[in-house]
Every structure is written in structure tokens, then in C-alpha cells.
């Protein structure tokens, strides 16, 4: 996305952290930490994907039996994190120590935003409905008359 490519690395990191609900002092601290720790490791072509990878590595232990693809599992974490003011309660410790509050852990464990249960596939066979084809039957009758 061009709108992102023209931005500075720090700018994108700041926006990313902001999108997780960080603001004011915790935002500054978190951005500083990320820039110091990960700036050289980030893929400058796709900074957001890199940041997602970092975040996923931290939180995957909290996402029980990750459902679906990494993208969806991480999005689920973010949604729970945002809804429960994770930035406020976890702050920098999420990134520094990989820690989230016990409340958040429980919410994730309880599948707070589970949109559907795990799929338990069962077959449902199409039934046979033997219908009479009117026109085919009429054709047969005409054919019989013509024959003899």
C-alpha cells in the first residue's frame, strides 16, 4: 500500500502500536522498545507483516490450539486485546516480557470472541426423489401409438 510505503519505519511502528490501543506514555515507551530491539530485523518492504510475526511469536502460547490460520488467530488476539484495554493493563510488558494479564489469558482461554464452535464435520446425503417426467411419459405414449 503506497500510503504506508512512503512513511518512515518509526512512523509505521507507531501507527501499528496505536492500532492496538496504545497511547501517550505507553505508546512512546513501546515504540522506543520495538525500534531498539527489532528495527534491524523488520522487513522494510512489509513492516506490518513483520510486526505481526513478532506479536504472534509472543502471544501464540496464549491462543489455545490456534484456530485456523495465523492471520485469523492473531486478529482474534488483537480483537480481545483491544476490547479489554490490553494496552492499558499489559503495557510494555507484553512486548518486553511476553506477558499478558491473567484476565486476558482467561478470556482467550474461554474463547471470548469465538464466532463459531470447532467444526465437527458430518455428512448429509442428498435424498432420492424419483419424480415422473411428464413430457418424457407423454413422449413414450405417443411413441407407443406410433409403433403400433
Amino acid at each position: 500500500m503506497v500510503a504506508l510505503k512512503v512513511q518512515s519505519l518509526e512512523g509505521i511502528v507507531t501507527a501499528y502500536v496505536q492500532s492496538l490501543g496504545y497511547c501517550r506514555e505507553s505508546l512512546q515507551k513501546t515504540v522506543s522498545f520495538l525500534m531498539e530491539t527489532y528495527a534491524e530485523k523488520l522487513n522494510h518492504e512489509d513492516v506490518i507483516a513483520s510486526l505481526d510475526e513478532i506479536l504472534y511469536a509472543i502471544v501464540k502460547k496464549y491462543i489455545p490450539t490456534p484456530r485456523g490460520e495465523k492471520t485469523q488467530a492473531l486478529a482474534l488476539f488483537k480483537a480481545v486485546f483491544l476490547l479489554n484495554d490490553g494496552a492499558e493493563t499489559c503495557g510494555l510488558s507484553l512486548w518486553e516480557k511476553g506477558e499478558i494479564t491473567s484476565e486476558l489469558q482467561q478470556l482467550l482461554k474461554d474463547n471470548m470472541l469465538q464466532s463459531a464452535p470447532q467444526i465437527k464435520a458430518t455428512k448429509m446425503e442428498a435424498q432420492k426423489i424419483e419424480t415422473i417426467d411428464f413430457f418424457a411419459s407423454l413422449n413414450k405414449i405417443f411413441h407407443m401409438f406410433r409403433k403400433g
Partner: protein, 684 residues
């Protein structure tokens, strides 16, 4: 189906069931035969033999249809007066514990999300009060194709989830492809999650079921292990336009004896109406997988009206299906205008005509075939009635234009007087009217008996005058509906697939332009027939007047009845009052309260713009994409255009103005959505 199988199904002597059916259908046949005999003696003796045959066939078909409705209602009336329950089904005590989980399914298709979730919240609250809520899960099964509505569904789901009673789960799934429409939607649920549940309660988007009713339905399934389906007859509610209020009044007053009559002779071989019913998941999955019928539409292809077919298949599989009028607390909304009613009818008509092919298929229970026949006749009776009127009028016109021949070529001593039993014809007409109208007064008797607090219904006089007014309205609207349905049947047989979509309406109802578009042909027909009959068939002018007046006034009638203001005026003057209006049931009040709260939070932004702006919804949407199924294919052009528009929106604040395909392509692009959301923070 043999009697042995029937015995095993329900706790009822099959002879007793057979006697009930003999009574109802026997009386139908006998009364039709007597009336036909009278008809034959009434036809003018000098009529051409072909017209005599044609008129007699049409008479038999239309009269038999009226007779079935009449006799079924009579028996329904006696059942209600005696307060007898449908025999053969076991009821558990009110406080009997539930032992298994039930899924409540709400299939939606581009509906108002706030209305859908408001209803679900009200039902969840109602279940919570029964203290059995933990045995229920709710599923919103979306087939929504409108991208803005899709995002709105997710948004409101999130809000509603936080208001749900803790013990009831609220799930949401949107299918990427709505294969086989509603039946496919339900099948998708069954194949993915059906294994978790013994029963499922299927709703419509406007359904409301009280918690106690849902608990009773589950208890009934528990107590009757051979039962596949239990249908709770839904009552129309929450109507405000005059048309809707008349419908809900008719449903309230006449509905019970109709349902009781049907239940009387159907017993454990009843039908399924597609919603407000509980279904045994195992039975459904074993028996109700719908095939694609051979041949082309309208008779081949996907099965449209799946409910009747599913009931027939479940019965074929050896399970019972019940219609239980005793189950109260089951509600739905009715179409607010005549045109909305006709639009719904168009869909149902096609589905029912398709049943003509299934009607004669192998292995079905005879009563299932009767259900299909009734469904077909619900629509086919209209063109039959129209044909009857046309042929009858043509005969009279013929007399007017070509007077009778008194002295034929073969010489006779005396002239040949055509014999026409006018009194006989009038008698038959009066009899038909009696059979159509009398059950309404029987319904009124039951209604007055059951509503001891007359204030709630505006008093006995209010109820009586409302019945008279409803009859008057029916007389005027019947010919209009006859024309609609005749056209639908003709279109279907001609293979014309006409798409009827409503135009955007404001709260004032059907606009003049829409009424003209839909009813102009009716008006012209009414005027032309009035003139022709006046001049050339004057003897039947006054008899035909209710029909011709209804047609001539179809435009004002359609507009007038669509207005909420007129509905309110009649309500103020105590017409069509029902107790649910004067003292709304708790579940309806709660649904309205939830709706008010949900409506107060509707954001200005919609669709992709909302996901760009709102990081929670953005993350939520991406997290749910997996559940929705694989993304559809979009062309490169569509994807690129969408991305460019999104860029311009972010960079320059330019309105996105996305097409439906473009917006959907973005909604299926989690990477782009995430970048756009973060890009918004950069912009800010």
C-alpha cells in the same frame, strides 16, 4: 405407509386418525358432490357442451377447495371449544428438566442487523428467565451478499454478544456462497455443527419465540423420541400499517381454528412451514438432504420451497411431524403492504408449483401428498377462479350478443325454451359465501371466549365490527390477489422468471408510482369489464360488482392499506385490535427495547470504511474470515480498482464509491484491511 408404522410412531390408535380424515374429507367430497349436482341442474340447458364440462370442472375444483377449508375449520372449532389437545403426543410437566443441547438457528439474508439481533437478545433474555438457558446456543447463519450489511452484522453481533445472558452462546457465520439458499444454509450448519446438538429450532429473521415455548418444544422432543418436527403456528405481530393490522387480526381471530382444524386431521403427519419449528437433527440429516430435481426450472432444479419437502421426507423416513396449536408464544411479522405480500407470494408460488413434480414421486406418505396438493391449490385456485369467472361471464355475454334459438332447424311443435335455474345459482353462491365467511364467526366465538378481559380487545363490539370490516376488506382485495396469483402461475408455467424487488419506501407506505406500476392492469381490467358487463351482461352486473370494484380501486386500496397513519386511525377507532397490541407480550417489549439501544449506536460509516476506521471491528472481521469459507474469486480488474479507491480514500480522503464486487474483494483481503487500518493512524 402401513398402519403398523403409524402405530409405532405415536401413542394413538390409527383407526381414530383414519376416522378423523374420513370425516373431514368425506364431508368435503359429499358437500362438493351435492353442490355439483345442484350446479349441473342450474347450468342453462342450451349451453354448448364444452362450456358445460369446463364450468363443471372449474366449479368442482373451486368448491372442493372452499369445502375443505370449511370442514377443517368446523372440526377445529369443536376441538378448541372442548379445549382438547392434539392426541397422540406426550407432554412433560412444565418444570421437567432439559437433558440435551438445542441450537437456535436464525438464517439471514441482507436483513436489518439491529432488528435481527434485537429479536435474538429478547429471546435469549426470555430463555434466561426459564433457568434452562444453558441448554441453548444461538446461531446467526448469514447468507448476506451486501458487503455493508455483512460488516454491520459483525458489528452488531459483537455488541449483542456482550449483552447476552452468560449461559447462552451467540455464534455468527457468514457463508461465502449461498448455495441452495436457506435450505443450503441450514444444511451447512448441520454438516459443520449438527453433531453437537440433538435438536435445532429454525427461525426466520422476523421470528420471535418465547423462552417458555422453546423449552416446551424441547421437552416435547424429549418425550416423543419418534418425532422429527414440531411446528408452532406463528402469530402475526407488530404490524402498524392497515394492511398488516388486518392480517394480524385475521391471524389472531381465525388462525386458531384453521390451525386446530389442520392439526385435527393431520395429527402426526403434519407439515413444516420453514420457521418457528423444532427439528430433530439426526432425523433431518438422515432424511432431508435435498437433491437437485431433474429438468429445468420451474419444475426442475433447486427445490425452492424446501420446508414442505423436508416435512415429506422426514415423514417418509418414519418420523412424525406435528402441528401443535397449543404452543403459544410463537410470533412473526407480516408483510406491511399488499405489494410486499404479493412479492412474498411470488416466491412461494414458484416453490409450490414445483411441488407438482414431487407430488407424484414414490414413497411419500399420502398425507404428505395432500400437503403438496394444498400448497399447489393455494395458488392454482386463483387462476381456476379467474377462469370460472371468465367462462361464466363469457356465457352470459354470449347470450347478450347471440340470443337463444327457440326454433331450431329440426322442426318442433313447441319452441325450445332454455332452462336456467336462477334460484339454484343464487343458492350455490350463497352457500359458497357462507362456507367462506361462517368459519370467521366461529373464530370470533373462540376469540371472545378466550379473551375474558374484553378491554384488551377493545370490547366484544369492537371485535365483531372488526370481523365485518375484515370481510369487507377481503371482498375488495380478493380479486386483486386473484389477479396477482394468476399472473404468477402463468409466469411460472411460461418459464418467466420475473424478479420482483421493492423500491425503497419511506414510512408512508406504497407510493402512487409503485401502486400504478403494480396495479394499472388490474384497474384497466376492472373498468373494461364493468363497462362490458353493464352493456352486454347486465343480469350479472351486481353479482360481479365486488370483483370489478375491487379491481377498479386496486391502486387506492393498495396505497390506503399500506399507510401506517391509516392503521393508527383504525386502531384509535377500535378496529382490528388484538390483545398483543393493547398489552404487548413481554418478549416484544424487550425486543423493542433492545432495538432502541442497538439503533442508538449505529455508526455513520459502513462497510470497508468502517473497518478502516475501527480497529476492533477490523481485527474481528479478519478473525472471522476463516469460518466463512474460502474467498470467492475476483477479477484482477476488480481487485486493482478496489485497492486504488482505498488508497485514494486514505491519502486524499476521496469517497471510495466501491461497487459491490470491489467492496467484497476488499473484505476478503485481510492484509489490505489491516494495512488500511494502520494507514488511518498514520493519516491521523
Amino acid at each position: 405407509m402401513s398402519a403398523d408404522i403409524f402405530e409405532n410412531l405415536i401413542n394413538l390408535n390409527p383407526e381414530r386418525v383414519r376416522h378423523r380424515r374420513i370425516k373431514v374429507f368425506g364431508l368435503m367430497i359429499v358437500s362438493t358432490l351435492i353442490a355439483t349436482g345442484k350446479w349441473l341442474s342450474s347450468i342453462p340447458t342450451d349451453s354448448f357442451w364444452l362450456t358445460k364440462v369446463l364450468m363443471t370442472i372449474l366449479f368442482i375444483l373451486t368448491f372442493a377447495w372452499i369445502a375443505l377449508f370449511f370442514w377443517s375449520s368446523i372440526f377445529g372449532f369443536f376441538e378448541l371449544m372442548a379445549k382438547r389437545k392434539v392426541p397422540g403426543i406426550n407432554w412433560l410437566p412444565k418444570d421437567a428438566p432439559l437433558t440435551t443441547k438445542t441450537a437456535i438457528l436464525m438464517p439471514v439474508y441482507n436483513e436489518s442487523s439491529v432488528n435481527v439481533f434485537a429479536n435474538l437478545l429478547a429471546m435469549a433474555d426470555s430463555l434466561h428467565t426459564t433457568e434452562q438457558g444453558k441448554y441453548f446456543d444461538m446461531f446467526v447463519l448469514s447468507d448476506t451478499t451486501n458487503p455493508k450489511v455483512w460488516v454491520e452484522e459483525e458489528r452488531v453481533w459483537l455488541e449483542a454478544k456482550q449483552k447476552m445472558p452468560k449461559e447462552i452462546n451467540l455464534y455468527y457465520r457468514r457463508r461465502a456462497k449461498n448455495t441452495a439458499r436457506k435450505s443450503g444454509n441450514i444444511e451447512d450448519f448441520c454438516t459443520k455443527w449438527g453433531a453437537y446438538y440433538d435438536y435445532m429450532i429454525v427461525l426466520d429473521a422476523d421470528s420471535l419465540l418465547e423462552g417458555s415455548t422453546m423449552v416446551k418444544m424441547v421437552q416435547l422432543m424429549q418425550a416423543n423420541p419418534k418425532t422429527g418436527i414440531i411446528q408452532a403456528p406463528p402469530m402475526c405481530l407488530n404490524g402498524h400499517s392497515l394492511f398488516a393490522r388486518i392480517q394480524q387480526f385475521a391471524g389472531k381471530v381465525y388462525g386458531p381454528i384453521v390451525s386446530a382444524g389442520l392439526a385435527y386431521w393431520q395429527v402426526g403427519d403434519s407439515n413444516y412451514w420453514g420457521h418457528n419449528a423444532i427439528i430433530r437433527v439426526k432425523a433431518f440429516m438422515e432424511c432431508c438432504g435435498l437433491p437437485v430435481l431433474k429438468g429445468k426450472a420451474p419444475f426442475g432444479g433447486m427445490i425452492l420451497s424446501h420446508d414442505f419437502v423436508e416435512a415429506a421426507l422426514i415423514r417418509r423416513g418414519g418420523w412424525a411431524a406435528w402441528l401443535l396449536p397449543e404452543l403459544k408464544g410463537s410470533y412473526e411479522e407480516c408483510p406491511p403492504t399488499m405489494i410486499d405480500f404479493a412479492i412474498r407470494d411470488r416466491r412461494w408460488c414458484q416453490g409450490n408449483m414445483q411441488h407438482l413434480k414431487i407430488l407424484i414421486s414414490k414413497g411419500l406418505h399420502p398425507v404428505s401428498r395432500v400437503h403438496f396438493t394444498i400448497g399447489v391449490m393455494s395458488y392454482l385456485s386463483s387462476p381456476l377462479w379467474l377462469a370460472f369467472l371468465v367462462v361464466g361471464t363469457a356465457i352470459v355475454l354470449g347470450r347478450g350478443i347471440f340470443p337463444p334459438v327457440y326454433f331450431e332447424e329440426v322442426r318442433t311443435l313447441f319452441p325450445v325454451w332454455p332452462i336456467f335455474d336462477k334460484l339454484g345459482t343464487i343458492t350455490l353462491f350463497a352457500l359458497s359465501m357462507f362456507m367462506l365467511i361462517f368459519p370467521k364467526f366461529l373464530g370470533l366465538i373462540v376469540y371472545l371466549r378466550d379473551n375474558k378481559n374484553k378491554k384488551k380487545i377493545g370490547g366484544a363490539w369492537s371485535a365483531f365490527k372488526s370481523v365485518i370490516a375484515e370481510i369487507g376488506m377481503s371482498v375488495l382485495t380478493a380479486p386483486i390477489m386473484m389477479m396477482f396469483q394468476s399472473k404468477f402461475v402463468f409466469d411460472i408455467f411460461a418459464g418467466n422468471s420475473v424478479s420482483w424487488n421493492t423500491q425503497n419506501r419511506d414510512d408512508t407506505g406504497t407510493s402512487f408510482s409503485e401502486a400504478v406500476a403494480r396495479h394499472l392492469s388490474h384497474t384497466i381490467l376492472g373498468i373494461v369489464s364493468t363497462i362490458v358487463i353493464w352493456f352486454y351482461a347486465h343480469s350479472i352486473f351486481w353479482w360481479m360488482l365486488p370483483i370489478t370494484v375491487g379491481l377498479m380501486l386496486s391502486i387506492p386500496i393498495s396505497m390506503f392499506t399500506s399507510r401506517v397513519t391509516n392503521g393508527e386511525w383504525f386502531k384509535k377507532h377500535k378496529f382490528f385490535l388484538i390483545p398483543e397490541e393493547t398489552d404487548a407480550p413481554k418478549i416484544l417489549r424487550e425486543a423493542k427495547a433492545h432495538l432502541k439501544k442497538l439503533e442508538s449506536h449505529v455508526p455513520a460509516l459502513q462497510g470497508v470504511a468502517l473497518l478502516v476506521d475501527n480497529n476492533v471491528l477490523n481485527a474481528l472481521h479478519i478473525s472471522m474470515l476463516q469460518v466463512n469459507g474460502p474467498a470467492p474469486d475476483f477479477t484482477r480488474e476488480v481487485s486493482q480498482n478496489a485497492e486504488i479507491k482505498l488508497e485514494n480514500y486514505l491519502t486524499y480522503g476521496k469517497e471510495m464509491d466501491l461497487s459491490k464486487e470491489e467492496e467484497l474483494s476488499l473484505l476478503y483481503n485481510p492484509k489490505l484491511l489491516l494495512q488500511a487500518n494502520i494507514g488511518k493512524f498514520l493519516k491521523d
